[in-house]
């Protein structure tokens, strides 16, 4: 099951010569965020980029002063201010007619929770920012506490018996802001991911990418399994892959096969779901319901699942 996230995609002339995230960074082995940076390096290519990273694992990724593992100018901000600091940077780039792409790379805590007001306000103002949420469904940097992105049933250090509440629907929230572009991204589907990253980089105004980001440390999974886990989440319908343009045009990019087998494998390959007793059967109704809504929004009348 091991494979590089760019399986089948070779580096071309137009690609960025050096990776955005260099070797020698502080990420755990198998961190999905490292894969995201790898993909993003290709998508960014020759563009002028500035990174904004709030308090999260990404802030540690850079390693210690004065070296930086990031190959672009980067600013580390307080937890709740990625989108506001990025606003200032994008504004000054605009004043100076620079083509700079300002990219926030934030975890789910900084996006779903503490940074929500800042994020929402920047989206409402349609700032020229690409906001990427690498969603590992946990406060990874503080040792694995629940966030409002943690799925029901997952054990975290602050929900030792498994979280009770469902995961917040961040995409619905972002779509409700009518931003030019929002998309969910699977790192197991490199071509789709690259297309979306490129679209997001080329679009002006506020763009949001939601990326499921395996966290071996928090998910209690094998580092080598990350991409496979995302593939299982996509196949089973647990992580829908779609785009939303201007908050109203929904495009489903990958059709899952809603396989219960995939869902059961997704759960069993992580130890975080062991205690709470979530199973493919308990998750299925929620998935069906979500897909029903998604299909309505996308205008596609396809049965929600095969029986």
């Amino acid at each position: 099951m091991r494979e590089p996230s760019l399986g089948g995609i070779v580096q071309t002339e137009q690609d960025r010569k050096r990776p955005l995230l260099r070797a020698g960074n502080m990420n755990c082995g198998g961190c999905g965020m490292s894969n995201i940076f790898q993909l993003l390096s290709h998508a960014v290519a020759g563009r002028d980029v500035k990174l904004v990273i709030p308090a999260c694992c990404g802030a540690i990724t850079a390693h210690t002063y004065p070296q930086s593992a990031f190959d672009v100018p980067t600013i580390l901000t307080t937890f709740a201010s990625a989108a506001s600091v990025a606003t200032g940077i994008a504004a000054v780039a605009g004043l100076n007619n620079e083509e700079t792409r300002v990219i926030c790379m934030a975890g789910d805590g900084g996006t779903y929770d503490i940074g929500m007001a800042t994020l929402s306000a920047a989206a409402e103002r349609n700032e020229n920012i690409l906001y990427i949420c690498y969603d590992n469904e946990i406060y990874g940097n503080t040792g694995g506490q629940r966030s409002s992105s943690t799925p029901a049933g997952a054990v975290t250090t602050s929900t030792p018996l498994g979280k009770r509440e469902n995961k917040k629907d961040i995409m619905a929230i972002m779509a409700a802001h009518r931003i030019p572009y929002a998309a969910t991204v699977s790192i197991a589907h490199a071509e789709d991911a690259l297309n979306k990253m490129r679209t997001a980089l080329d679009t002006n105004g506020f763009r949001f990418l939601h990326i499921l980001s395996p966290c071996p440390t928090g998910w209690k999974s094998e580092p080598a399994m990350g991409i496979e886990l995302v593939r299982l989440a996509v196949r089973s319908g647990l992580f829908p892959v779609y785009e939303v343009f201007h908050g109203d045009r929904y495009v489903i990019n990958i059709e899952p096969d809603f396989s219960d087998e995939a869902l059961s494998m997704y759960l069993s390959l992580q130890r975080r779901f062991r205690k709470s007793g979530v199973t493919e059967t308990s998750l299925r109704p929620g998935i069906d319901k979500y897909w029903h809504g998604l299909r309505m929004l996308s205008g596609r009348i396809v049965p929600a699942r095969r029986h």
């Binding site: 002028d48 672009v72 201010s81 606003t87 200032g88």
Partner: protein, 368 residues
Amino acid sequence: MPVELISANHGAGLAATLAGRANRTGRGFCCGVYPITPATDCMEYLCAQEIEKSKVVRVESEHSAMGVCIGASATGARSFTTTSSNGLAYMAENCVTAASLRLPIVLVVANRTMGPPWNIWADHGDSLMLRDLGWIQIYCADNQEVFDTVLFGFRLAENAEVMMPLMVCMDGFTLSHTIAQINVPEQDMVDRFLPITTVPHQLGSTPHALGQIEVAHQVASHRRQHHEAMEKVFHVYTDIQDEFQQIMDRSLPDPVVSYRIEDAESVIISMGTIGATAEQVVDDLREKGQRVGSLRLRMFRPFPMKSIRENLKTARRVAVIDRDISLGFGGVLWGEIKAVGSRNGLIIQNYMMGIGGGMSGRSIFAGF
């Protein structure tokens, strides 16, 4: 030089506008602003201005207002914002970032009591709460001083040897809403006084990270550098004062404003508008034959220890007036004055006045 009859809030907004325009050939001017009483008028004034090469972002909180300033300043623009009281408390986290990243942001604080229980009147407790972060803090006594200090503040904050954020404090309502005459320089005078902003460590095109983790000895040496830069403020201050005088043709007060201090046995020490009242009280008492003087601290951080010591040479009794209280200790200013002023035979007493916007007029002094 035209004279405007405006409030200190509008004066601060006007000074920021002129300073913003002065950076039009640089990387521009960018602010995040959010309303809070009594600083709101300053923000409203700014939002109504058309400033070449500028953007004022109307954000959703003070935390984000400072966030925008951080982003703008980190990419080399001139940056300004304004707040009060709980707004400053809410902004505080990002004020730490601004200071530690050594970004020359100018912040106008219309001092106001912290709540709840809610109170909108003057009290220095809000800005003093941020005493230790590495911001320069200047307290003003009249509208002209507020206006001049904003211009001066950018020059000081952006000085290569100083390079840190600066707070211009004014008593809420007492100054912020009082309309008085302000001499307003022409744009070309401001252009001459305020060169374009250069942030040597700005995020440009070479990869480097601002604000990444540091280990203990790195933090310690950065703190030390910051502290040393604080100490340089005094001599840079004097240099800029001279230039201000030459270009604007008027003087800007010293970090410590002394009044009839030469032979004073009793000295009143205070900050902000109470300092102006204290000077009148000194006149009253001098008429009664008492040898009284006043020291008004304009600069609170860095703390002008040397100047205070020199000014207390003849003193036997010192009355420190605090428009604040550090609960469980006493007046904040009193604590600082005791730390630098103590010597045998010198009595340093603490008085609280005007807390929560309470009376601070001349008659109140009589009760002391």
